[in-house]
Amino acid sequence: MWRPKKKEQEKTIDRFQALSSGQTVQTLFDRLEHSNDFKRYKVGASGWVISYVSTMCDDKIINNALLPVLKKNEVQSLEDMKEKLLVDNIRVTEDTKKIEENVMAGHIIVQEKSADQKVLCIPASNNEGRKVSIPEVEFSVVGPKEAFVESIDTNMSLMRKRLPISQLTLRELKMGSITQTRVGVVYIDGIADEDNIQTVLQRLKNIDYDQIIDSSFISQMISDNSTSPFPQLLDTERPDRVVEVLVEGKIAIVVDGSPHVLTCPTTIVEFFSASDDYFLPWHLATAFRLIRLFAVFFSVLSTPLYVAILTYHHEMIPEELMSTIVASRADIPFPPILEVIILELTIELLREAGARLPTKIGQTIGIVGGIVIGTAAVDAGLTSNVLLIIVALAALASFTTPVYQIGNTIRLIRFPFLIGAQMWGLVGVAMVMMFYIGHLIKLTSIGRPFFAPLYPLRFLDLRDAFIRLPFSKQTDRPLQNRPEAPRRFNKKHVSERRDIDE
């Protein structure tokens, strides 16, 4: 097969790159004039040239601040104008690269003569975006009702509002060779581990890709093992949740244009804890967490166990259930595995359709449709009643996960279990389970173990893992994050008796 030689490949610079290299202000504006929303004209008697992208600029600044000054001929030079204009953050520059960046971000460029390299950049971008609304993916009944939006600035302000301390640090990077997306690394200086911060920054700097549309791009690109079905960075749309983990010493990654913020390092148990857990009394929260954990196991293992037991281990079926199972299976022309795959795929189909339908009503219709299809399938003798109940319950159980990303994982990891169950029965289920546990033990998140409070066993971190102990017992920040300030509060204050006040 013919392959281009490597040397030749390196030499070729595509037209895209050629356009942006070695240009002057004149060539930049000449190219921009191909777009119809680019405006460039002379103003006033002294012939100032202003240039801007009209779709990115705020009319108010042009009309109220800039044009009066120019038209009245009050200024002589760009420096003079910089002093007189009542706009913040004006800059005089000759750097073409910077000028390009600014004009594309909605700045107004003012020149003395149209051929001048020296320009004045007046920020005038119209920051239009969605208003902060209630969280839709991670809904909670109690607690804050704010969710992140697409603008990185709004998202930062949502976090800063909750963390009014100078230690909250934002390190911004530009990523994506074409999209030039603003990506921010947020952490609390003095709590977050320096190694973790460096790892994140280094990984982000190493990304070389043309577009960063959403934070999930970053999540996939910087994860330790990109072939793993388990997400290694937790994404959330709740500012309160991000603040919670920042205080614990984690690092957040904010991406402009994405209403989801990534947090790391994370562990598998964090995916099963909801923000509701902290708004409820600790014993109730613990019970709900355990129910959620049970739901996950049920969702993954119920159908594989059905297949394994019906095909290989019918000794395990209790006598009382035997007649129900055998009677409902009697007319089914398929072996249990095919029956299960048909029904699981139907459910997956419904879910996928539900996700693509425009509104929440669409989802409801999907579920109702599922029940109708299910009963019809049973009536037609394609699946058994018992299995329909199991599959429906398993689907329901998989919805209990508070983080959407892990829900997708749970949807998929049951299929290897099904194959194992069909081939070797319970032994097969055990083999697949061992494979997954081995994988989880090996997995890391930003270099920190992903299976953490369990392996390596961090006994103190277990107080906010499967169970949640009361706040008075949460004296230390999780060891997993290697916080530089490990203490949350002084334990003595909690145990002091304040009966003298009563």
Partner: protein, 359 residues
């Protein structure tokens, strides 16, 4: 990596060679029974539930019977009669005809103890009469014979029958100085009853304890929390309900011959008193009298039973195993010679806790 992948794929295809039948495609044997025909021939019967339509909820039982020379042949021949592969995994009850039991059921025990698919909690039973007729009998519309029989045995274990299942029997069968026993079942018209306990020596039945004495064996073997006995006293027939009991054994050794002391404590109340002219007033003197009388009854019954075991050279209570546990240098041969003559002393401490609420 490629090698690993290849081996996984090979395993997948190898697993595909396995012949799999899911649960509804198998004939699940729930009950099996064997009859003695003549020297070297046995007749085996199995009961397979036939689950009907879901709406009907009735269960019919299919019975297959074959006569063969050996057990191995039985397996082959019974498959010939069945439309689905037979599966022993859910066996619940296994029965033997009395003739067969008195000739020894060693072969059957071997099979039952070897097959890992058969649970240890299945019930064994000895049938007075023809096993085939008992299995084929029609008892209850909604139940299979297996379930019905299992229910009878389980219910009786809660009452007067000592604990029994395959595990207990095999334990006794393999232990030194301990012999097994099994419920003795009988078909009476359209129902089955536990009509006693059949006592084994090794794998052969030697004697049968009648139904009214099963509680005595239970008292000797284990803690009784619920048992009832009617006692013929000089005041008439009195029903006593045992609520608590405890039996402890002591071994005393003088010289070469051991001596056993059995201490039985029984608590219970009177729940039935057939008047025979005697006034039924409550008084402590009267309770004392009854306690004495009942103590004597249990003592004599227990002694009688131990005597019966000694005569038959069988040891279901496990005196030998107790002796082996307590004494160094247990000599099985010597013990077996000693056993028929060994003195056993039974002490009963009985307390009547109540006589009912009426006068």
């Amino acid at each position: 990596m490629r090698g690993k992948l290849l081996s996984v794929i090979c395993l997948m295809f190898a697993a595909g060679c396995n012949n799999i039948d899911s649960v509804e495609d198998r004939a699940i044997i729930q009950i099996s029974g064997y009859d003695y025909v003549d020297e070297g021939r046995i007749k085996g019967t199995v009961g397979i539930p036939q689950y009907g339509e879901e709406s009907a909820r009735t269960v019919e039982e299919l019975n297959l019977t074959v006569e063969t020379e050996s057990l191995k042949e039985f397996d082959i021949q019974i498959q010939n009669e069945s439309s689905k592969p037979l599966s022993m995994g859910k066996l619940e009850v296994n029965l033997y005809n009395e003739d067969l039991a008195s000739r020894g059921i060693t072969d059957f025990m071997d099979i039952l103890s070897r097959d890992p698919r058969i649970g240890r909690n299945i019930y064994l039973g000895i049938v007075d009469g023809d096993t085939q007729k008992l299995i084929e009998g029609d008892y209850n519309q909604n139940e299979t014979t297996a379930k019905y029989l299992k229910g009878i045995i389980e219910n009786n274990i809660d009452q007067n029958l000592p604990k029994t299942n395959l595990h207990y029997f095999l334990y006794a069968y393999y232990a030194d100085g301990l012999d097994g026993f099994l419920p003795y079942l009988k078909k009476v018209n359209s129902h089955i009853e536990v009509s006693g306990i059949s006592i084994f020596k090794e794998a052969s039945q030697v004697t049968v304890i009648p139904a009214e004495d099963t509680l005595i064996l239970k008292l000797l073997k284990e803690k009784v929390e619920k048992g009832s006995q009617t006692i013929q006293s000089d005041e008439g027939v009195i029903g006593m309900e045992i609520t608590d009991s405890n039996t402890s054994y002591q071994v005393k050794k003088s010289g070469d011959s051991p001596r056993f002391i059995v201490n039985m404590t029984i608590k219970g109340f009177i729940n039935e008193m057939k008047e025979t002219g005697v006034e039924s007033q409550r008084s402590s003197a009267r309770i004392d009298h009854l306690e004495e009388e009942f103590s004597a009854y249990y003592k004599s019954k227990a002694e009688e039973m131990i005597e019966l075991f000694k005569e038959n050279e069988t040891d279901p209570i496990g005196l030998g195993s107790l002796y082996k546990n307590r004494m160094r240098n247990f000599d099985k041969q010597a013990w077996e010679e000693q056993y028929p003559e060994v003195p056993v002393e039974v002490n009963v401490d009985l307390e009547i806790t109540g006589m009912g609420i009426s006068l």
